[in-house]
């Protein structure tokens, strides 16, 4: 019990003293995760919208594939992307391995299916009368699409928050493609794994607390946003 309390108290002191190494890890984590989420949102939201509102042959197959990709393990993505960007891979010339860019590529692959499937679900639940109403009031296709997206905003924002939660807490991709290089690609999760290996729990627990706090703040922001825009 003393071990747990000591680690917890020391980690709180570490957070309070704003340790530069800790700050850098948090910064890298947030930067990589936010960029991944932004790119995945830019790809996944329009893709999910198109899949939801259009009828085409193989639509069910696409949705089934996306649902399957939701369960894709991070180590599989890490391995897959590694094969492409390692020196022997076809994108080896770009020298991406063990960079933040590599981590972002892997994380985008991880969460595009999350954003897309959540968006499909959110759009599909929107009453068809919204589309008809926008059209009869004179909206063109893009304006009608914006109306539908606006009505589905809670579901779409939830998908982005869920995607961010997925990438900030993943370890496989960051470790395999980032390499856990101190000051460059070391994220909260890879640092925690390393500290655990070393038997040093203070930094690991401090990062765990920050990770949980970020998750809490994201959910508070989501709730605030939903409450504000409910009118």
């Amino acid at each position: 019990m003393d071990f747990f309390v000591d680690s917890f108290l020391s980690s709180l002191i570490l957070i309070r003293t704003v340790d530069p190494a800790l700050l850098n890890i948090v910064y890298v984590s947030l930067k990589v995760s936010l960029l991944s989420t932004l790119i995945a949102g830019a790809v996944g939201i329009p893709f999910g919208f198109v899949v939801a509102v259009t009828e085409f042959a193989g639509k069910r197959a696409v949705i089934t594939l996306l649902n399957t990709l939701l369960a894709l393990p991070t180590v599989v993505i890490g391995l897959f992307v590694y094969m492409f960007i390692s020196r022997r891979g076809i994108f080896g010339v770009f020298d991406l391995l063990y960079t933040q860019k590599a981590m972002i590529i892997g994380q985008v692959i991880l969460i595009v299916p999350v954003v897309t499937t959540f968006t499909i679900t959110a759009i599909s639940r929107i009453d068809t009368r919204y589309r008809r109403t926008a059209m009869t009031l004179g909206a063109d296709r893009i304006q009608t699409a914006m109306v539908i997206l606006r009505e589905a905003r809670f579901g779409i924002v939830a998908s982005v928050v869920a995607a961010f939660g997925r990438v900030i807490s993943e370890v496989g991709i960051s470790m395999m493609l980032g390499g856990n290089a101190k000051g460059f690609t070391r994220t909260m999760t890879t640092a925690m794994a390393l500290e655990y290996d070393k038997g040093e729990f203070v930094l690991a627990v401090a990062l765990g607390i920050i990770l949980m706090s970020i998750s809490l703040v994201m959910n508070i922001l989501l709730n605030y946003f939903q409450g504000r825009t409910a009118v």
Partner: protein, 341 residues
């Protein structure tokens, strides 16, 4: 002509839901589109509001053929607005809902404000301008939806069952709004309803639809039953209980309509070959331009339509027992499941 159509058809998965050989609708009039549920009224309304494309046929708007291409339809939609049966408001304020169509028409902000306020005034919803649309009742929602349509300054407004989901107070208010927008703004109105009373109250012209096809009058007292022979006469047996005389050589199941004017009250039941008598109880009465509509419950609800003078002769009222006479000349076969045998 505001609208005219030739051989207009709409099919879904091989099933024809609308089949109109010819249709003419004049400008600046109120038309009622009458028919039972599933008669294709809403489908026709959606085609007339240019949000649904017919499977085949030609539609003319202002005597010009309608090109069912998105660009062309978008332009036409600026003149024609549909108000849904259960209108949906965008999840924002009442003001922003009413303003929506004006934004789509690139109206300046100052004018948008004025038109929005005017439109809300017209439907008596000005006090709710900044209320959340989600918090309105069914009747209020319907009125805001009308204001939203009116704000677009359309030449035609199409109402799909405008009073289907509102209370009596709002029903009267909505009917008055429809009449006043037609009278004051010269807007052509097409109201789709299954309420005969509302149609006669509002409309100058009436179109009847039944099973997707235009008919000369609305079918009422629609029942389905099996054709049986009894004493050399044919009857439609409804629920194996009620025998309605019918002139047919068909067998199997048929769908019949008993014309409400053909059903008479009888003081001394005397069965003859072409008529049957049923005892029932009057459950509803209403007046329609000198005629009385009587709902008689004989075990199944039967709508009877008779001149006020004729009705007064019987000195009867709601809750009273009456005997009604159904004759085969008033029974029309409107559908069957088997071919004539």
């Amino acid at each position: 002509m505001l609208y005219s159509a030739r051989n207009l058809k709409k099919t879904y998965n091989g099933r024809t839901v609308l089949d109109i050989p010819e249709l003419s609708i004049e400008k600046e009039k109120i038309y009622a589109l009458l028919g039972p549920n599933g008669s294709g009224k809403t489908t026709l309304l959606h085609i007339l509001s240019f949000i649904l494309t017919p499977s085949t046929g030609a539609l003319f708007y202002n005597d010009k053929p309608v090109q069912f291409l998105e660009k062309a339809l978008q332009l036409l939609r600026k003149e024609v607005v549909l108000v849904d049966q259960h209108p949906i408001l965008f999840s924002t304020s009442v003001h922003k809902n009413v303003e929506f169509g004006l934004k789509m028409r690139d109206i300046a902000k100052k004018d948008r404000r004025r038109i929005t306020e005017e439109s809300l005034d017209l439907v008596g919803m000005r006090d709710f301008e900044w209320a959340a649309a989600a918090h309105l009742s069914g009747g209020e929602t319907q009125r805001v939806a009308i204001a939203r349509a009116l704000a677009c300054r359309p030449k035609v407004i199409l109402f799909d069952e405008p009073t289907a989901s509102v209370d009596v107070e709002n029903q009267i208010a909505i009917e008055n709004i429809i009449q006043s927008i037609h009278r004051e703004r010269k807007i052509s109105v097409i109201v789709c309803t299954h309420n005969m009373l509302q149609a006669s109250k509002l409309a100058e012209e009436t179109l009847f639809l039944f099973e997707g096809r235009p008919t000369s009058s609305i079918y009422e007292n629609i029942f389905g039953g099996k054709v049986i022979m009894k004493g050399g006469r044919s009857y439609c047996a409804i629920d194996d209980k009620f025998l309605i005389p019918v002139k047919t050589d068909q067998t199997g199941f048929i769908k019949i309509s008993i014309h409400p004017k053909s059903i008479k009250f009888a003081s001394s039941p005397k069965n003859d070959a072409s008529s049957v008598f049923y005892d029932g109880r009057i459950s509803q009465l209403s007046e329609e331009k000198g005629w009385i509509r009587i709902l008689v419950n004989i075990g199944i609800p039967l709508s009877v339509f008779m001149k006020k003078k004729e009705f007064d002769l019987f000195g009867t009222g709601i809750g009273q027992n009456v005997t009604v006479k159904c004759s085969d000349y008033g029974v029309e076969i409107i559908g069957s499941e088997t071919m004539p045998g």
